[in-house]
C-alpha cells in the first residue's frame, strides 16, 4: 500500500467511526478525553469500528493494544505506526 499521509489516516479513521455512529459530532470532540465515551460508542460499536478500520486500512488491532486507541490522536498515531511497519 502506498504511504498514507497522517491526514488521510485521520480522515479514514473518522469515517470508520461515522459509519458506526453517524450522529457523532467529531468537531466537538475533546482531544484529551476518551472519544468512545464522548461519542457514546459502546463495546459492540467499537468492535465494528475496528472491523471497518481493518477493511479500509488492512490493520487489525489485537486486544492488548486497545488502550492505545483511547483518544482520537492516539488512534491515529497507532494506525500510522502500524502502517509504517507493514512493508510496502
Amino acid at each position: 500500500m502506498a504511504e498514507l499521509s497522517r491526514e488521510t489516516i485521520r480522515d479514514t479513521a473518522i469515517d470508520c467511526i461515522l459509519s458506526v455512529a453517524p450522529e457523532a459530532e467529531i468537531d466537538r470532540l475533546r482531544h484529551d478525553r476518551p472519544w468512545r465515551e464522548q461519542l457514546e460508542v459502546d463495546s459492540f460499536d467499537f468492535l465494528n469500528v475496528l472491523v471497518a478500520l481493518e477493511t479500509r486500512l488492512g490493520v487489525s488491532v489485537p486486544e492488548g493494544d486497545y488502550h492505545e486507541l483511547t483518544t482520537l490522536d492516539g488512534l491515529v498515531a497507532y494506525l500510522e505506526a502500524r502502517l509504517a511497519e507493514t512493508p510496502p
Binding site: P22, R36, E37, E40, V41, F44, E63, G64, H67
Partner: protein
C-alpha cells in the same frame, strides 16, 4: 450429557451445602427472620437492611463500597460513612419537600453519589428508578413520564447533553440534583448535589415502612406499546438477601464485584442492595468494559465473588485465555453470570481462564431476584439455566385453547416457564397498567414469556422467547420502541425491527425500513437513519444495522410481520416460519 462435577470439599464449603434439604425446609418467613427489621418493630426498609444495620461499632468501619474511578482515582466508603451520606440525601429530599412515594430517577454513570442517592431515597420511602446513562432522550422521556419522576439525580454533563433539551417535556419533574463533573457553571434550575449533601444533617430516622411500601420501579420493554414499569416493594429485600446467599454464595467477608450497571435491574438488586445487605464489600468500577482492565480489577482488588454477563465473557473469550491466565486470582472463589443463556463453551472458558466454572442463572425485571441458578454446591450442566431457588416453584406450561394452562409432564418437552406466585421480590404491578399486569398470571402462575425445557434432573434449559422481544447484551429491547423512533424520520414509510443473532452480544437490534416515495436508498440515507435513531434512543437501544427495502411484509390486518423478516434474515424458507412461531 456432559456435567461439570463439584468435589465434596466444594460442596461442603458452599453457603448452601445441601440443596435438597434447603428446599424442603425453606420458607420465606424464615428468610425474613434473617433480616433485622426497623428498630421498634417499625417494619422493613431496604436501606436499613443494606446500610444502617451494619453502620455501628467496628462493623461500621468496614468498607461498604470501593469505587474505582475512570482516571485511576479510588474512594473507599465505609458502612458508617454510607449510612451518614444516605441519611444526608434523605434529608435533602425532605428539605425539598419531596413526599414519600414520589418518583426519584437517577441518570448517571457508576459514581458514588448514585449509590448514596439510591439508598437515601429508599430511606425516605421514595420510589427509585435508575436509568441507564446510555439511554437517549426518547427512552428517558418515556420512562420519566410513565414513572412521574419528580426528582432527577444526574451529572452536569449528562444534564447538558440529555436533559436540558427535553426538560420542558418532563412535566412531573420538580427538582434536579446535579453532580458537577465538568468545568462549566451549575446548569440553570438545578441544585448542586454535593453542596446540598454537605449542608444537610446526617441524622435521619427512617419512617415506618410497611412490607408492601413501593421501593423500586424498573422499566422493561414490551413487544407492543410503551415500556412497562415493574413496581417492587420493600419486602423484596428478603429475596435479595436470601438469593445472594444461595445463588451467589455471598458472605460478609467477600469482596464482590457485580459488573452490571445500576441502570438495569441486576445492577440494582445485586449491584447495590443484596451485597450490602449481606455486609460484603462492593467493588464499583466506573469504566466501561475493557478485558485487560477487568483482569486488573479481579486481580488487584482480590475479588472473591464475581457476577457478570455472557456478553462480557464472550468479549473476553475473543482475546483468548492467555491474557487472563497471565494473572493470578488466588482470592476468586465463585463466578456467576446472568442476562442471557451462557453457552457451554463460556462455562468451560471460565475453568480455562480463571480455574473456575461460570455459574449461569436466570431471572427477570419482574421477578426482582434470581429464580433459577447453577449453585456452588451442585454439578453444572453447561448450557442449562440451573434449578429453582429454595422457595421458588417453577413449572413448564402448555397453553390450552380455553385460555387456561397445564403443566407439561414429559421431560424435554418445550413450554413456557412459569413461577408459582408468592415470592417477596415479585413485581406488584405494572405502573398504571393493571390489565397488562393481570395478563401475566394464570391459575396462580406468573408467566415469564420464556420458552424452556426441563430435564430429568430438574435442570431448566432456555429455548427462546415466546414473543418478539430482543435480547441484546443481556438487555430486553422492545421492537416497538425502536420502530416508533424511526417512524419519526420524514423518509420512513414503515419499519420492522428484529433481533439478529450475534455470536458476541446474543442478538443485535436490526431495523428494516421502507421509504416514502421520493426518497432514494443509498449509504448516506442509511447513515442518516442510523444517526437519527442513535440520537433519539441512545446506543443501548438504537439499531446496530439498518436495511432499506422496497416494502415490508404485512399481515392482512396490516401489522408488519417481524417473524417473516427474521426468517428472511436467517435464510429460512419464507413459507417456513414454524420454528419462529409463538407458543402462545
Amino acid at each position: 450429557m456432559e456435567v461439570l462435577r463439584k468435589s465434596r470439599s466444594e460442596v461442603r464449603a458452599a453457603v448452601m451445602d445441601d440443596y435438597s434439604r434447603r428446599c424442603a425446609g425453606f420458607s420465606w418467613g424464615e428468610a425474613r427472620g434473617w433480616l433485622d427489621g426497623l428498630p421498634g418493630g417499625a417494619g422493613l426498609n431496604i436501606a436499613h437492611e443494606a446500610v444502617d444495620r451494619h453502620a455501628t461499632g467496628t462493623q461500621g468501619e468496614r468498607t461498604a463500597l470501593r469505587w474505582l474511578g475512570k482516571q485511576g482515582r479510588q474512594r473507599d466508603i465505609s458502612y458508617r460513612e454510607l449510612a451518614s451520606l444516605s441519611s444526608r440525601f434523605a434529608n435533602v429530599l425532605g428539605e425539598l419537600g419531596v413526599p414519600p412515594g414520589a418518583g426519584v430517577f437517577l441518570l448517571a454513570g457508576r459514581i458514588p453519589e448514585l449509590y448514596v442517592a439510591v439508598l437515601g431515597a429508599l430511606k425516605h420511602t421514595a420510589v427509585v428508578t435508575p436509568l441507564f446513562s446510555a439511554f437517549g432522550p426518547e427512552p428517558i422521556v418515556t420512562r420519566m413520564t410513565l414513572g412521574e419522576g419528580r426528582v432527577l439525580v444526574t451529572t452536569a454533563s449528562l444534564y447538558r447533553r440529555k436533559i436540558a433539551p427535553i426538560r420542558d417535556r418532563l412535566g412531573a419533574l420538580e427538582h434536579v440534583l446535579v453532580v458537577r463533573d465538568d468545568d462549566g457553571e451549575l446548569p440553570e434550575d438545578t441544585h448542586d448535589l454535593v453542596a446540598r449533601l454537605d449542608a444537610a444533617s446526617d441524622v435521619y430516622t427512617i419512617p415506618a415502612t410497611d412490607d408492601e411500601t413501593p421501593a423500586l420501579l424498573h422499566f422493561t420493554s414490551g413487544t407492543t406499546g410503551k415500556p412497562k414499569g415493574a413496581l417492587h416493594v420493600h419486602q423484596a429485600v428478603v429475596a435479595h438477601y436470601a438469593t445472594a446467599r444461595f445463588a451467589l454464595d455471598l458472605r460478609p467477608e467477600d469482596i464482590y464485584w457485580c459488573t452490571a450497571d445500576p441502570g438495569w435491574v441486576t445492577g440494582t438488586s445485586y449491584g447495590i442492595i443484596a451485597p450490602l445487605c449481606i455486609g460484603a464489600t462492593l467493588v464499583v468500577d466506573e469504566a466501561e468494559f475493557d478485558a485487560e482492565h477487568w483482569y486488573d480489577v479481579l486481580e488487584s482488588e482480590g475479588v472473591t465473588v464475581w457476577y457478570t454477563a455472557p456478553t462480557a465473557i464472550r468479549m473476553m473469550m475473543r482475546g483468548g485465555s492467555e491474557r487472563a491466565r497471565s494473572r493470578r486470582y488466588p482470592a476468586l472463589r465463585f463466578i456467576a453470570s446472568v442476562g442471557e443463556p451462557l453457552n457451554p463453551q463460556a462455562v468451560h472458558w471460565g475453568v480455562e481462564a480463571f480455574g473456575l466454572p461460570i455459574h449461569d442463572n436466570w431471572w427477570q425485571t419482574e421477578t426482582g431476584g434470581i429464580m433459577i441458578a447453577n449453585f456452588a454446591s451442585l454439578d453444572i450442566r453447561p448450557g442449562a439455566m440451573g434449578k429453582p431457588l429454595p422457595g421458588i416453584q417453577a413449572g413448564v406450561l402448555r397453553h390450552l385453547p380455553d385460555g387456561g394452562v397445564e403443566e407439561v409432564t414429559r421431560y424435554g418437552e418445550e413450554g413456557e416457564l412459569a413461577l408459582r406466585v408468592g415470592w417477596p421480590s415479585m413485581f406488584r404491578t405494572y405502573l398504571n397498567e393493571d390489565a397488562r399486569y393481570r395478563r401475566c398470571f394464570v391459575d396462580g402462575w406468573y408467566l415469564t414469556g420464556d420458552l424452556v425445557r426441563r430435564d430429568p434432573e430438574d435442570y431448566y434449559w432456555f429455548v427462546g422467547r415466546a414473543d418478539d422481544m430482543i435480547k441484546s447484551a443481556g438487555h430486553l429491547i422492545g421492537p416497538f420502541e425502536v420502530e416508533s423512533a424511526l417512524m419519526e424520520h420524514p423518509a420512513v414509510a414503515e419499519v420492522g425491527v428484529i433481533g439478529k443473532p450475534d455470536p458476541v452480544i446474543g442478538e443485535i437490534v436490526k431495523a428494516f425500513v421502507a421509504l416514502k416515495p421520493g426518497f432514494v436508498s443509498d449509504e448516506s440515507l442509511r447513515r442518516e437513519l442510523l444517526g437519527f435513531a442513535r440520537r433519539r434512543l441512545g446506543p443501548a437501544v438504537a439499531p446496530k444495522e439498518i436495511d432499506i427495502q422496497s416494502s415490508l411484509p404485512r399481515t392482512r390486518s396490516g401489522k408488519i410481520m417481524r417473524r417473516l423478516l427474521k426468517a428472511r434474515e436467517l435464510g429460512l424458507p419464507e413459507g417456513d416460519t414454524s420454528t419462529l412461531e409463538s407458543a402462545r
